[in-house]
Symmetry: C2
């Protein structure tokens, strides 16, 4: 795909990412962190799409806590296209607004919706998949979701049930399912025609706008009105006034699930199986595993520090930049240290980190969240 | 005992205390740390003796890395009486030098030798025991050791085997033993007449000087010569020149063990059973237990931080002053954080901390030791 196509990446970057506390904070959410390499997650997200679209084609939807930092991290993107939601309204209004904005610019715009905080190992294959998806999205009223072949019975993701009919390598989508319990997840993996919902979608701005008009009839006109004000002196006020009135709902619940209920043929939703080393880095444990898969340390320790002494220690993840770290006789721990906080937990309990943030919110310990 | 008696406390403060790394360093050894309360260990050591001796009676033997810091921590003590050994020569030359120095000042001087880094819960009872020991030491050629009733088959201490003959509450010492193995330690505890060697001794300067002349015939004259130079312009040079020639040996090996081999009657060594809540804080684990015995937290967590969130966590010791600490799903860990280092270990492995210091020494990472 040449850069002069109709392709526009829209990066959703409003997430708070509490699961990477104490490193992630309200004003320094996961997508702003360099969890994997020198670039931050959102910088990587943009970088891997720059061969498909020039910087001026990118849009970022984030919030007021993060906008400034994102502008700094992505200096090549037009500042006006880094939008801060006045309030969080989940993904449907966010991507919907992008659709109405892009329709004004290009009636044939094809939107790629991308989370801002995932890692992708094989960028070349990623770009090929996105190109294929964009073609499919451009050819009619098609909705394309990138589906990840599941490698374990993960209960933290939504699943896509694919039908048998094929269109190139794309599969028709039969059904979107919510996060399953462990037994269901195991069934899905065994069945072979289930994919993880990656949160990456491709569709034309027109298709998306029409879908919103159909499924969110109250919200769509509000988004259209906000888009109309874009570029005028009234934009900020209009955005602030109307966006809170939009329905607080994910694009999955708002459009994809009801649409898929129409049946495979009518829904026109396609799953493009994606095999490019995707990882959403949903927790410290996921990050640990990601690092292990890259560097394969013999004892499974990933220790970021100024120096390391390890004795009888296995499977630990330690983040303490600038410090000499000594790990003795410990296994499967996650220890993360920042200027003002110290997290000590296990690989198994790392998903409970959100509870710390909840506690800190309740105690109004704002500096720590 | 009135302060105008012949009693002189001599504080041995030359230890490096590697077992409290990363908090303890060469220039900030254990005795300089406030591990237990607001005062440092050496400040506590002096404070609990100040009712028995005025500040000008105290002597401190330390090393060049620590002298300045000790002088600062103990501003009421005469600076000239804080001596820095040119090289470490273990306890025999250190306490021996004190004996020769004090003989010049007071022929009837009674020395109390005290480690600088132990905790004692019942200071009143401690002082009563020391007073009793000093009386006993003054009454002839007696050597008095404070013996701790063992509460567990500890293999990290030397043991004193007491005889049956009594002199007041004092027992004659039959034998000093080295650190036993676990089976021996259990036997000792079961036997009932064994005590832990606390490292606290009382004897007259004359008795001690004579013992050194007998057991360390080469070293004693060197110490006498150094003592003679004290207060003159030649002292520093004499100390530096002669002290390295002294034998590198503990007072236990040099005097107490050979003396006790003479038999109970001839040796004149007495064990004064001491029951004043003694703890030598030999490791992070010992410190943890000491704190638990004082504050009795229901889940056994001792966490020093600016704030704490605990979930499914038991028996952990965390030292991270100034930081909010979150401990989730972890048990029996020891985590200690300083400006430049982070130790992560377990209660069981805390005694291996010395191996980190050894490694850092070998790698010449001087800033970290």
């Amino acid at each position: 795909m040449a850069k002069n196509s109709n392709f526009y990446p829209v990066i959703l970057a409003g997430g708070r990412g509490t699961r990477f506390w104490p490193l992630s904070r309200k004003k320094r959410a996961k997508q702003l962190l360099a969890l994997d390499g020198k670039q931050t997650m959102i910088q990587q997200t943009v970088a891997r799409l720059l061969l498909l679209a020039s910087p001026k084609r990118f849009w970022v939807i984030t919030n007021g806590d993060l906008r400034r930092a994102i502008e700094k991290q992505l200096p090549r993107l037009p500042k006006a296209q880094v939008l801060a939601e006045p309030v969080g309204r989940n993904t449907a209004p966010a991507i919907g607004l992008a659709a109405f904005l892009l329709l004004r610019e290009n009636a044939d715009a094809v939107i790629g919706m991308f989370p801002s905080d995932h890692v992708i190992a094989d960028e070349k294959r990623f770009r090929a998949t996105v190109e294929r998806g964009a073609e499919l999205a451009a050819a009619g009223e098609n909705i394309v979701v990138l589906g990840i072949k599941p490698t374990r019975p993960e209960t933290g993701y939504g699943y896509i049930e694919a039908g048998n009919s094929l269109r190139g390598e794309a599969l028709r989508v039969r059904r979107f399912t919510e996060k399953p319990d462990a037994a269901k997840a195991a069934e899905f993996v065994a069945a072979g025609n289930y994919f993880w919902n990656s949160g990456m979608f491709l569709w034309s701005a027109r298709t998306l706008a029409n879908a919103l008009r159909e499924h969110l009839p109250n919200t769509a006109p509000l988004l259209a009105q906000i888009a109309t004000a874009f570029g005028t002196s009234k934009f900020a006020a209009t955005f602030r006034r109307l966006y809170p009135k939009c329905e607080n709902i994910s694009i999955d619940y708002a459009v994809l699930e009801p649409r898929s209920a129409k049946g495979e043929q009518a829904a026109n939703i396609f799953c493009l199986p994606a095999d490019f080393g995707w990882n959403d880095l949903g927790s410290w444990t996921a990050l640990h595993e990601h690092h292990i898969s890259k560097s394969k340390p013999p004892e499974g320790n990933i220790i970021h520090g100024a120096g390391v002494f390890v004795l009888n220690a296995r499977g630990n993840y330690v983040h303490a930049p600038g410090k000499f770290v000594a790990a003795i006789g410990v296994s499967d721990l996650v220890v993360v240290e920042t200027d003002d906080a110290l997290l000590i937990t296990t690989r198994q309990h790392a998903q409970d980190v959100g509870k710390v943030v909840k506690y800190l919110d309740e105690k109004k310990l704002h500096k720590l969240v």
